[in-house]
């Protein structure tokens, strides 16, 4: 074997070829991942005359967005559905935080009877099919006057967001050294003060991240608003699908609706990319 200088030459070529092959494979996958997005955006900018053509030369128009938002004379209620999504998602996040933060703290800092069972039950909410409770909920909601109301939607949507909040915040609380709180107690803080002035500020990045993620989960949920609302509290995702059901479908309008329904979660996701893995996997994988 020659010592060093001769070997790299063929190796370098092979390396170069492999790297370009890697790039090519990645680009193919990303074309698959991003072309549908590009397609829907382009379709949403087409005029009625252009929508059934697939060629790309067109003059982009924002008319579809204006129509969807009801800014012209079509009288679309899309804006109301958008607001409805916003109200119910924010509401669900707030309720989840109010209930979830104490629970997460208790599960991270204390070992008490049934704590693991309770945590496991919350995790099972994440896996259980939402359909299982739809019929009884619909019946109960009709009786209680909660059907098709924002309050009713917030109450069910936080079933989706609460387990997320509890599981992720527990992992944030666990990562925070308990010594910091102990030091605060030695300094004469009460337990409550130690929690509000030391623990809570330290996990606040986690709380911010989990709130945005919970918002995305609530916004993207389909089955609850689909079955438990009709007009008043209907959300954007449901109404976008309903667009497709009409007998005179205007595809460019549907596309504009889809883009608008997809935008808020996408923007928020970019803000919390650092925490996404932990959030999506319920803290089971730490990034």
């Amino acid at each position: 074997m020659p010592t060093t200088n001769e070997a790299p030459r063929p190796g370098r070529l092979r390396r170069f070829v492999l790297d370009r092959l890697t790039d090519a494979t990645l680009l193919v996958y990303f074309a698959f991942a991003l072309l549908p997005v590009l397609f829907i955006v382009l379709l949403s900018l087409k005029t009625n005359a252009e929508q059934t053509t697939t060629h790309l030369s067109f003059a982009p128009t924002f008319d579809n967005y204006r129509s969807v938002l009801g800014l012209d004379d079509t009288g679309s209620s899309y804006l109301r559905f958008f607001m409805s999504s916003l109200i119910t998602s924010v509401g669900a996040v707030l309720v989840s935080l109010a209930i979830g933060i104490p629970m997460a703290y208790a599960a991270a800092r204390y070992r008490f009877r049934r704590s693991e069972d309770l945590m496991f039950m919350l995790l099972s909410f994440r896996f259980a099919p939402e359909l299982t409770v739809i019929i009884p909920l619909a019946v109960l909601y009709q009786q209680m006057g909660l059907y098709d109301t924002h309050v009713g939607m917030i109450w069910v949507l936080q079933l989706v967001t609460m387990p997320l909040v509890v599981w992720i915040l527990r992992s944030f609380f666990q990562d925070m050294p308990a010594e910091l709180e102990e030091a605060a107690l030695l300094d004469g803080y009460t337990r409550r003060q130690a929690f509000f002035r030391v623990a809570l500020p330290l996990v606040s990045p986690g709380i911010a991240a989990v709130s945005l993620l919970a918002f995305i989960f609530a916004w993207n949920n389909f089955i609850f608003p689909f079955t438990l609302t009709s007009g008043n509290a209907q959300t954007v995702t449901v109404s976008t699908l309903a667009f497709l059901g009409g007998n005179q479908v205007r595809f460019n309008l549907v596309a504009a609706g889809a883009v608008m329904a997809a935008l808020p979660p996408l923007i928020l996701a970019l803000l919390i990319q650092r925490y996404l893995v932990r959030g999506l996997s319920f803290g089971a994988v730490k990034s």
């Binding site: 991003l34 549908p36 209930i99 709180e181």
Partner: protein, 316 residues
């Protein structure tokens, strides 16, 4: 800890509160504190368990729009359903969809993660956009794909035309199943990718250096080192993907509504149709409860296995 990867950080376990407490607070109140903190969450659990058990009890009745005064029928709903062809069809559809989607997503997701992990400029750029499909609501994603597949406005037909395919869309049973899986793969492969990337970045480098010194090839290194060390992470992704696709409703409903015929009628679609479309509430609820039982049992087994693997990986 049910699924959390054991972390090295010390947490207070075993004893109630850390450190000295204000003397005014009695020992008893201190022991009570975690329960007080958990009360709202417990109430929430009860609040959802009530409708759940209410629904479960309806499965023993014959309750439908035609029969709003339910009669007790015992296990009749279960026997009718478990002996019906529709149930076994939906079970088969669910299995094909869930296993197919999970396998493709895992293989593809890990593959993309390995390619991205080489930290070229292109890789770093693509890493930022990889999650886009995952953040779009599944319904909205399905709508996008319905438009893509639409022969009038979509891009699938012309692209298929270039490579000589004439049959596109979801009008044949096989194509419908394939497209629903493709859409699931489109949305959720990034989920596996981001978790695999997080796992890859946390692997220690010394075993790989040792393997390189020993002259192990790429495949050998992957099979004997990367994959086993990555498995605790991947398993989390597999569990989430499998459970979500077993119960998947949004994508299938908005893409094919279970059709053509019953080619993509999964258990959740079947349950929905029985309960909502035909207003046979008890029948639908029985389907839903069976679906729940499947998800519950499978997730229990998988989560147990995960805990074992993770404690072994943590060296306990």
């Amino acid at each position: 800890m049910s699924v959390a990867v054991p972390s090295s950080t010390r947490t207070e376990r075993g004893s109630p509160a850390p450190g000295p407490d204000t003397p005014r607070v009695s020992r008893r109140r201190r022991a009570l504190r975690p329960y007080l903190l958990a009360v709202p969450a417990v109430l929430l659990c009860v609040g959802i368990l009530y409708p759940f058990f209410l629904g479960a009890s309806y499965t023993l009745f014959d309750f439908s729009a035609q029969n709003p005064d339910p009669d007790m029928v015992g296990a009749e709903n279960y026997t009718t359903i478990l002996t019906s062809a529709a149930f076994w069809n939906s079970a088969r559809v669910t299995a094909i969809y869930a296993i197919g989607a999970t396998v493709v997503e895992t293989v593809l997701g890990v593959g993309i993660a390995l390619l991205l992990n080489r930290s070229t400029i292109l890789g770093r750029m693509l890493e930022r956009v990889v999650i886009i499909p995952l953040m779009v609501a599944p319904v909205v994603a399905a709508i996008m794909w319905r438009l893509l597949l639409n022969p009038e406005v979509g891009w699938v037909a012309p692209i298929a035309g270039w490579i000589g395919l004439t049959h596109t869309g979801t009008d044949s049973p096989v194509a419908a199943m394939v497209w629903t899986i493709v859409v699931d793969v489109w949305i959720f492969t990034p989920f596996v990718t981001v978790i695999a990337l997080a796992g890859l970045s946390s692997l220690p480098s010394s075993p790989f250096e040792a393997a390189a010194v020993d002259g192990a090839g790429w495949w050998m290194t992957f099979r004997r080192l990367t994959l086993p060390m990555l498995w605790p992470y991947l398993l989390v992704a597999v569990i989430f993907r499998l459970m979500d696709s077993v119960k998947m409703f949004d994508v299938i409903y908005s893409l094919t509504s279970g059709g053509p015929g019953s080619a993509t009628t999964s258990m959740s679609i079947q349950a929905y149709q029985e309960a909502i479309t035909y207003a046979r509430y008890s029948r639908g609820l029985t389907y839903m409860l069976l679906l729940w039982a499947v998800v519950f049992v499978v997730s229990m087994i998988l989560v147990r296995y995960l805990r074992r693997i993770q404690s072994r990986a943590a060296g306990v």
